[in-house]
Subunit: 152 residues, 4 copies
């Protein structure tokens, strides 16, 4: 599903890190970047009491935050300096209750494009060395240029 894509900006990892740091939502959740490579970004989130839904699992919206950011930043790794990335739309299937010690979202570029990039993200729940697939996301990301305030 993943291929090696050449980055257009050698400072792609720093850009992703700096942009991620501006997402206050990630800090509110408690999420952190685990890995950045061309076309690939992994984000981790410790399961914690402030991000749950009514049955005690992690809220589907929190799972989605993670998957969306992992997919969006995977797209950003392949964009020229000066570009900004926006999520156009996505679909997510919630396969299993989101639980464990930690969630990990692995965002991958499926098909990069000049304007639109298609990405997929898989979210896993990890506990005691075991991994369960929690969710699958497919997203369309858009590169914008010259739009004031939209630079990553």
């Amino acid at each position: 599903m993943t291929a090696a894509f050449p980055p257009r900006d050698p400072a792609y990892a720093e850009r992703v890190g700096a942009s991620f740091a501006r997402q206050t939502m990630m800090g509110t959740l408690g999420a952190a970047i685990l890995r950045v490579a061309p076309g690939e970004v992994d984000i981790g989130l410790p399961v914690a009491p402030h991000i749950l839904q009514q049955h005690g699992f992690v809220h589907g919206g929190a799972v989605t935050c993670l998957a969306d950011s992992a997919a969006g930043y995977a797209a950003l790794t392949l964009m020229e300096a000066g570009s900004g990335v926006l999520t156009v739309e996505f679909k997510i299937n919630l396969l299993s209750p989101a639980r464990g010690d930690r969630l990990v979202a692995e965002g991958r570029v499926t098909r990069p494009g000049r304007t639109l990039t298609v990405c997929q993200a898989t979210v896993y729940g990890e506990a005691a060395g075991r991994r369960e697939t929690v969710a699958l996301l497919t997203a369309t990301m858009m590169r914008v240029e010259g739009r004031p305030g939209i630079v990553d």
Copy 2:
């Protein structure tokens, strides 16, 4: 798009309120229920500094949390007592940057079913009496029964 559906549990509004109160994620965001009617739930969220993405708009994941909960609880209003509601999957289109003083997600049941219920949610950004459509979500919700811990 919405029709009047008869609720199967007269205490549907209390059930929605009690279940929502257990979603710690909603408290973390700062969201509150605005309105509950058969097949309809509206949720409001003041725009605040802790839920933003990198360009200063509300994070798409937070918008999605709101829309998912509004859609899921709209489905719950029509379910029998003893049922629990789970999100199977959804798709969301982010139409405009999520900004304003407050976001409002209006969840509506499109087609109720014994097992699966299709819902839609529209998210608006409100500021100074003006309303802008921010996102459209279509979701498949599942009613579960007799699964330990999954009751709403």
Copy 3:
């Protein structure tokens, strides 16, 4: 859900008709345009023995063909002369078995944009004056310009 959008090309209805006529797939199904207005296209399809799935209903893929074309041409009605329209992605919920005498897909522009246009389509099954909602589609359409062979 629909608003009145001003067309940029006064010959929009002729363009839609001419482009539709080139879709051999529509002829193979037996589909015909019923109505064209700015941001709105309706397509009809008589239920017939050559487009069914295994239980005797119209195939979900045929329903999707109809909805996709209705949504795409709704987008095209608002585009400048010289543009071409491509489907980027869509999601469809199949709500009821597709049956009746005729299917009608009503495509509507939800949010027009310079590059991307979000559309929705509802597909109905009609029989003896009765209408049942069969499917709901949400699509992202892209305007392309200057790409050889992609003009509508």
Copy 4:
């Protein structure tokens, strides 16, 4: 993304073949089953003049027919005798123009369930030994039992 799933009905391949043969839509397109294995179904479709869109590529709806059937029959391979399979919903991203000598849709079960099965399908365009990814579909399939006429 695919795992080996044990079939519950040893005659799964015959069931898929018999059900596929009843889909007149597949015959109208010119599609044929290429391969059936537990959780996996591949369908081929020669590119032909009667299934095109307005720019001369295969119609997105035809691509979707193929992907939907491949995904649905992949789900059916894992279901008990006496079950029927229905498509609840799907999302498809059209990544490249659908062209070549032949399209091949590879349907795979991602997560089987008692009631709902999540599947993915990838559609390729093949020409002169070259393969290009044309589309990615993610679908929710439903197993029904005891519903008159809905048996596969």
